[in-house]
């Protein structure tokens, strides 16, 4: 075997490499946050949070350009994600209950497998799917809050279903047996005993799904489309933050670029906020099960 010196050297090299990897991972995160805060923070104001997007202005320096905001777009994002959650959370949780409690080996496994596959579907494909579903029969509502929230819901459902399934499975079997032993029907046992004890984890899954959907731009380009006025009605196109960041960020208008940075910062804050809440809830759940 190698001498202690060599081994110590090896140890140092390994530690150094590990630290280097950590730094490499943190660099993009720090860089994104830094850039978003510096460039986005400079446009942040109450006006920015409430006013509508400005008219395009092509003066390169941006001096004298109208300053707008993203108020309606924040509303649009909240409306879309809210509608999508209303669709996805019940369906997802019920799917999770089915796969963990009723599915068994055959159908349950199959559903589980396909929800896994769905998790990996590229979101743009989901956008194309919803677009294609509506364009033939209901062309007038292809670009609307309805299609946008359906697309986001399709992204959310597998995430909610999988996390619900996992968290229901994490509830010890003896709890179910105890419930059954008291003579409660299976469905009541699930509703009153199993689901409540798994609820924090289910809620976390739902919040993670909300986070994922809230940051999606690709499917919305084909469904919710875009709208300066944010959310104006179920059958009307909806403007939300991510597609607007894409659109404004690639435009030549200087004030739109500034707007895109501000919108990025707000989106990061919104999504980080949800993530932090989700993690707090998750921590509570671990405590409930005695740390694991």
């Amino acid at each position: 075997m190698a001498s202690p010196t060599v081994r110590r050297a090896f140890n140092w090299v390994a530690v150094a490499l590990t630290c280097a990897c950590v730094v490499v991972i943190l660099i993009p995160l720090a860089s994104i946050l830094y850039t978003a805060i510096v460039l986005g923070g400079s446009v942040l104001s109450l006006h920015f949070l409430t006013a509508g997007p400005p008219a395009a202005c092509t003066i390169p320096s941006g001096v004298g350009c109208p300053v707008g905001g993203i108020g309606p777009l924040i509303g649009g994002t909240l409306a879309l994600v809210g509608l999508a959650s209303a669709l996805a959370v019940p369906i997802g949780v019920l799917t999770g209950i089915f796969t963990s409690e009723y599915g068994g080996r055959g159908l349950g496994r199959a559903v589980s497998f396909f929800t896994d596959v769905m998790t990996g579907l590229p979101s743009i494909v989901i956008g194309v799917f919803v677009y294609g579903l509506f364009v033939l029969y209901y062309p007038r509502i292809v670009f609307s809050a309805i299609t946008g929230s359906i697309a986001l819901a399709i992204i959310m459902i597998p995430i909610v279903a999988r996390t619900s399934e996992e968290s229901l499975r994490a509830v010890p079997h003896s709890v179910r047996e105890a419930a059954l032993g008291l003579g409660i029907p299976k469905y009541r046992g699930i509703l009153r005993v199993v689901l409540p004890s798994a609820l924090p984890a289910v809620a976390t899954g739902a919040l993670l799904a909300v986070m994922r959907a809230g940051g999606e731009a690709a499917p919305l380009l084909l469904t919710a489309f875009g709208n300066r006025l944010g959310f104006v009605g179920l059958d009307q196109p909806v403007g939300s933050l991510p597609p607007t960041i894409y659109e404004f960020g690639t435009s030549g208008a200087s004030n739109w670029l500034a707007d895109a940075w501000g919108a990025s910062l707000i989106l990061i804050i919104l999504m980080l906020g949800i993530s932090i809440v989700a993690r707090l809830v998750l921590r509570n759940r671990f405590r409930a099960f005695g740390g694991g």
């Binding site: 395009a56 092509t58 409306a79 509830v171 003896s174 659109e247 435009s251 030549g252």
Partner: protein, 393 residues
């Protein structure tokens, strides 16, 4: 450990049970509070009018298409004050705009290229309205050259074919103004990799100027480029050229001016020594000097070309952009339209071709010349709702 503990807490030991229950309850409570907060925020936002920056109007119209006209249409949206309608336009590209209007998902489309015969027959009853005009600027990155570089159609075609590869090539150097000496260095050709109206105009120009180009590459919104590197969108072409020494590219004049990129002068067909720089004036006069007759909105615009306009001082790479509407809004959209709604749509576009043109120049668009405004107005008057004429207001 976990299962034993949970089992215990759920069934036997009362104190542990209460403690655990208390903690496990906080999770759902937080979640519920968050959901309630979101709902409250939404309601408050709705009340405060956040969700509808402008109080929602009676009719809202959706349009899609050309990214070139996006900034202009966006300015119209913000400046069109009407109690009866609001317009929502998204710049998704000319090709996508034609597709969407054909699928009737939108109320109007916009394209930088006129409809081809196939596209026209796919969307039966479609009308084309020439709306705005723009020039395609040849942008380049040559830090050491102070004067404006000159190009001819033949030279540009050879550069894009990959037969002229060096800036000091004799064919390129010989057409330069006295005092402009091009350095030795390879030319990096940049083209639009996505389907683009700008590419359509530019490749049409190269086809008109060079037989080899016409035979081997042809024209279209997306072609098989024989040389160079692709960039997606006008902004990517601009930034690639800006950051690559020795690069050459083509973008809408609007982009070149807004981004402060150097662009070249192009030879006017009327005179070998007349090299014209793209400006609002030189592209505007190219349209004014168009020698043929423009068809009406229902006619075929596919062969209308204002490339190589022959008047002195006309910029040769100039084109029109088009708005697309269905002639009979009732037949096209069925029950989602009413006479009043059709009237509101017509009123908006009527405003756009008249008052709306005053916003063009500040955004570097060529205002629509009077003869085209007249054609558009006549086409607009021909629009119907289930066979009835729509009054233009």
């Amino acid at each position: 450990m976990s299962s034993a503990n949970a089992n215990q807490s759920a069934t036997t030991t009362p104190p542990a049970d209460t403690i655990v229950r208390k903690k496990s309850r906080t999770g759902p409570i937080i979640a519920i509070v968050v959901v309630i907060l979101i709902v409250i925020i939404l309601l408050v936002a709705y009340q405060a009018g956040w969700l509808t920056a402008k109080k929602s109007t009676k009719y809202s119209f959706t349009g899609a298409g050309s990214t070139f006209v996006f900034p202009l249409v966006n300015t119209w949206e913000l400046n069109y004050n009407s109690s009866s309608s609001s317009v929502n336009y998204q710049g998704v590209g000319s090709g996508a705009g034609i597709q969407q209007i054909t699928a009737k998902t939108v109320d109007f489309g916009a394209s930088d290229a006129p409809l081809s015969a196939t596209q026209k027959s796919a969307a039966s009853g479609i009308l084309q309205f020439p709306e705005s005009a723009g020039g395609v600027a040849i942008i380049y990155n040559l830090a050491t050259v102070t004067g404006q570089v000159r190009f001819t159609g033949a030279v540009l075609a050879q550069i894009y074919l990959g037969t002229i590869t060096n800036w000091n090539d004799a064919r390129l150097q010989s057409i330069q103004a006295a005092g402009v000496t091009l350095p030795s260095g390879s030319i990096t050709v940049v083209y639009r990799s996505d389907g683009s109206g700008t590419s359509f105009v530019y490749t049409s120009y190269l086809s008109a100027e060079n037989a080899t180009w016409k035979a081997t590459v042809g024209h279209g919104t997306a072609v098989h480029w024989p040389a160079g590197i692709g960039a997606k969108g006008s902004s990517a072409v601009t930034s690639t050229v800006k950051t690559t020494p020795g690069a050459i590219g083509y973008v809408d004049l609007e982009y070149a001016l807004a981004n402060g990129v150097t662009f070249g002068a192009v030879q006017n067909p009327s005179s070998l020594t007349d090299f014209v720089s793209p400006t609002l004036a030189s592209t505007g006069s190219a349209i004014a000097d168009f020698s043929g007759t423009f068809p009406g909105g229902a006619g075929d615009w596919g062969n209308i070309s204002i490339l190589n306009s022959a008047g002195a001082g006309d910029y040769p790479i100039t084109s029109l952009t088009y708005f697309l509407f269905y002639q009979d809004l009732g037949t096209a959209y069925g029950s989602s339209y009413s006479m009043a709604k059709a009237q509101a749509l017509v009123a908006w576009f009527n405003w756009a071709i008249h008052t709306g043109q005053s916003y063009s120049a500040a955004l570097y668009y060529v205002p629509l010349p009077a003869n085209l405004v007249a054609i558009d107005a006549a086409t607009l008057a021909s629009m119907t709702f289930n066979g009835q004429a729509i009054p233009v207001t």
